[in-house]
């Protein structure tokens, strides 16, 4: 009973990294494409450095939560998220993680690694780690497609940051850096 497009994306990070911001960008992109979407967010503790996870479900879903082993895509803004929340990823899913690939890989799915902290520093905004990782997810080498394209996310950002041209430019740069940096497993 699932529609043609359905994709479940889990986004993990630490409060203050902008997990909610990325979740809402993706949700907005889905709405613009006329796709039904549900998300679940962690509030309150979100800005106090605790572990947070967002669930984003594009398609005819009724529940806002992704079940263990059901996420098509997993994004981790901190490497430790891979261990804490990696179990959401399905066997044939794929993940983009801000970190270094470990030697032993026992978790299911395809994992793409990038040093988003370094890249964010490189483009001049250390707080843009979230957008770097998002960029890595938007057409990373060899990965299956996300439900939306880089251009569609850029359009959402352009409206969100309409009055802040400098911030918008840096945001585009962050996503581009992430996209270029994603290396195949």
């Amino acid at each position: 009973m699932r529609q043609a497009i359905d994709q479940q994306i889990a986004i993990s990070g630490v409060g203050g990294q902008g997990v909610l911001f990325v979740t809402r960008l993706l949700a907005e992109a889905a709405i613009r494409k006329g796709l039904p979407v549900m998300t679940s967010e962690t509030h309150g503790m979100a800005q106090r450095g605790g572990t947070v996870i967002s669930h984003l479900k594009v398609g005819a879903f009724t529940s806002p939560l992704i079940r263990t082993g059901q996420a098509d895509v997993f994004l981790a803004l901190k490497a430790e998220g891979a261990g804490q929340h990696g179990h959401y990823l399905r066997r044939r899913g794929w993940a983009v993680v801000n970190g270094v690939s470990p030697d032993d890989k026992t978790t299911p799915g395809q994992w793409f690694w990038l040093d988003a902290d370094d890249l964010a520093h490189g483009i001049g905004n250390p707080k843009a780690v979230n957008l770097v990782v998002l960029g890595g997810a938007l057409g990373g080498a060899g990965a299956p497609p996300l439900f939306c394209t880089m251009e569609e996310i850029q359009a959402v950002l352009a409206e969100r940051l309409a009055a802040k041209t400098a911030l918008l430019e840096i945001s585009y740069k962050a996503m581009a850096a992430g996209l270029q940096a994603v290396s195949p497993p």
Binding site: R24, G49, T68
Partner: protein, 602 residues
């Protein structure tokens, strides 16, 4: 739209003329969204944060007594605070529709309990609606107003975290601008009812409930119409949303009838009768209590909390529900991997003034009992500076309790209570008055960051600013405390940490010598409060010199996220991205190895 935004939209679309609240996760965004929408849609209505949920309830209820549609919103433990007016108002009823939104937190994720507000509705004898999604939360607000006015009774709407903080694409309907004028007609037998009249009102209330138990618009519905069998599922709230999806995935949608209970109390009698006659086994999925289950007439055929099959503790996550459905239908449950260890615990932000205040308290009174309260400062737990957290305002009364318990001893314990400014106005004042009157030896440190921080920086009575940004009269904290008869009231700057330590020592001495509470106000704004009016203390990050030997004292006793211990544990460094330059770590380091640029070494 966030579930809470959808509820706010629902209030506007129903012509709500007055809405009040006190911040609390997961409800806070309801009033905040309403205030923003009110401004952007230019609606003429009264929207305010109140000092606590009881006051918020009473204000909104009086509005409903005049025939206007009003609402009050809060989290589930806030309902405890509002329970006094709730119980009384249920008897008196209402003229204009009155909706009480109480948001529950199964888990709990950020509350002292995971209590079920629907149970409180049952105790109060008012109907409660249980939405399964942001979309349904919005439509249930309209339904609640209709029901409330049809029977002149307050109606509760009970969303949970996964409704409040879920987002869903939702269509908006036009706003209703009701042309109602307030009117108050004297009726002391109702609005000022004494016990004899209360008896009559109670009988009337019971009649209303019996009728509401047959009200068509809120009756339970079968979601997969036409599906029959000898087994069925009954669910409410977000559990319905999870169950629908899982049933489709498990191939049960066309074989197992699923009923959604939209009004858990009072449960429709026709429904309970039908269940008893049509099904041999019924699985009831609801959280967190078994209120629907308890109203079913024949529980021998029920699989639920009473039978020990459905957990009584914790959130009913989709994984748990999947296991329940598999057990109920004899399918094998999927293997769920054990949750990964740890997860980062939350901590105070880098540069938070509370961190400095707690460090000073530990220095000034290292062996005291530290009673504390609810807010961002509860995270003082991580610094070993918080011993008790009971409920709003209890820091002060518990401090008094500990004083009275130990006062007869040869070596009585010192007691230092910490409370935030918002919490102080919420519930701390009465406790402080009591401590003055009882000559309690204690020091109260009010951590005044001029905001209600943890819940999203809502204004307090000192802010001088309302929910819609309008100017309000600002309350003077020092005058208020002196007016209570407190003899020692001093204000300190947490970033001048050594000076604050001295003020605290003076306070302890004064309290001991005069046998009275002493109050220290440690005042500095929240660093992430975008609307702070007090000046924030920031600057360049300090540096760690080679004198640092990696003792780890700063990391353990101060725990600032900007102070990072090297992997080989030889020394610490300061993360310039996180550091706000408050400079307090300079006072913390026992080796004086942390210095501001340009500062001479000792």
């Amino acid at each position: 739209m966030l579930g809470n935004e959808a509820i706010a939209r629902g209030l506007l679309e129903s012509g709500c003329a007055m809405a009040t609240s006190y911040p609390g996760t997961p409800a806070s965004e309801i009033l905040a969204s309403l205030a923003a929408m009110r401004v952007s849609e230019k609606v003429d209505m009264h929207v305010q944060w109140a000092v606590n949920e009881k006051v918020a309830f009473e204000i909104a209820y009086a509005g409903a007594m005049t025939g206007l549609r009003t609402a009050v919103s809060m989290k589930q433990v806030g309902l405890n605070v509002a329970s006094d007016p709730l119980m009384s108002a249920a008897y008196m009823g209402t003229k204009g529709g009155f909706v009480v939104i109480s948001a529950d937190d199964p888990g709990p994720h950020s509350s002292q309990t995971e209590q079920d507000s629907r149970m409180m509705a049952m105790m109060a004898k008012i109907p409660v609606l249980d939405p399964d999604s942001p979309r349904e939360a919005k439509s249930m607000v309209a339904l609640a107003y209709t029901l409330s006015e049809a029977y002149e009774i307050p109606v509760m709407v009970r969303p949970t975290t996964r409704v409040c903080h879920a987002r869903q694409d939702i269509d908006v309907d036009p706003l209703e601008r009701l042309a109602r004028s307030p009117e108050f007609k004297r009726d002391p037998a109702r609005w000022a009812a004494t016990p004899k009249f209360r008896h009559h009102l109670h009988m009337e209330l019971e009649r209303k409930l019996a009728a509401i138990g047959t009200y068509d618009a809120t009756a339970p519905i079968q979601l997969n119409e036409g599906v029959s069998g000898r087994r069925a599922i009954v669910a409410c709230g977000v559990a319905v949303a999870h169950t629908v999806e899982i049933m489709r995935d498990l191939g049960l949608w066309d074989t197992l009838p699923l009923y959604q209970v939209r009004q858990p109390y009072p449960l429709h009698r026709g429904f309970t009768d039908r269940l008893a006659s049509a099904y041999d086994k019924i699985l009831v999925i609801e959280e967190t209590t078994d209120i629907v289950e308890l109203q079913l007439s024949d529980r021998r055929r029920v699989v639920g909390k009473q039978s020990g099959d459905v957990p009584r503790v914790g959130e009913l996550t989709p994984e748990v529900i999947e296991g329940l459905l598999c057990d109920f239908t004899g399918q094998s449950a999927p293997v769920v991997p054990p949750p990964a260890a740890g997860g980062r615990r939350p901590t105070l932000c880098a540069g938070c003034p509370h961190r400095a205040s707690f460090f000073a308290i530990k220095k000034a009174a290292p062996r005291a009992i530290y009673t504390s309260d609810i807010g961002c400062y509860t995270l003082g737990l991580n610094l070993g500076a918080v011993d008790t957290v009971l409920c709003m305002g209890a820091a002060i009364s518990q401090a008094a309790g500990f004083y009275h318990a130990f006062k007869g001893e040869d070596k009585p314990r010192e007691v230092v209570a910490t409370i935030g400014d918002s919490t102080f106005y919420h519930a701390g004042l009465p406790a402080l008055v009591d401590a003055v009157s009882q000559s309690v030896k204690m020091v109260l440190v009010i951590l005044d960051n001029r905001t209600t921080a943890m819940t999203g920086n809502q204004p307090t009575p000192e802010s001088g600013r309302g929910a819609c940004g309008e100017p309000l009269h600002a309350v003077d904290m020092e005058q208020l405390i002196k007016g209570c008869g407190v003899g020692f009231v001093r204000v300190g700057d947490p970033y001048q940490t050594n000076a604050l330590i001295q003020i605290l020592k003076d306070a302890l001495a004064h309290s001991r010598e005069t046998s009275a509470p002493a109050v220290v106000i440690s005042r500095s704004p929240c660093l992430i409060d975008k609307q702070a009016t007090l000046a924030k203390t920031t600057g360049p990050p300090p540096t760690v010199s080679d004198d640092c030997d990696g003792c780890g004292y700063c990391v353990q006793q101060f725990e600032c996220p900007a102070i990072v211990m090297a992997e080989d544990e030889s020394r610490v460094s300061i993360d310039p991205v996180l550091c706000t330059g408050c400079g307090v770590c300079r006072y913390v380091c026992p080796k004086q190895s942390i210095r501001l640029p340009g500062e001479p070494s000792e």
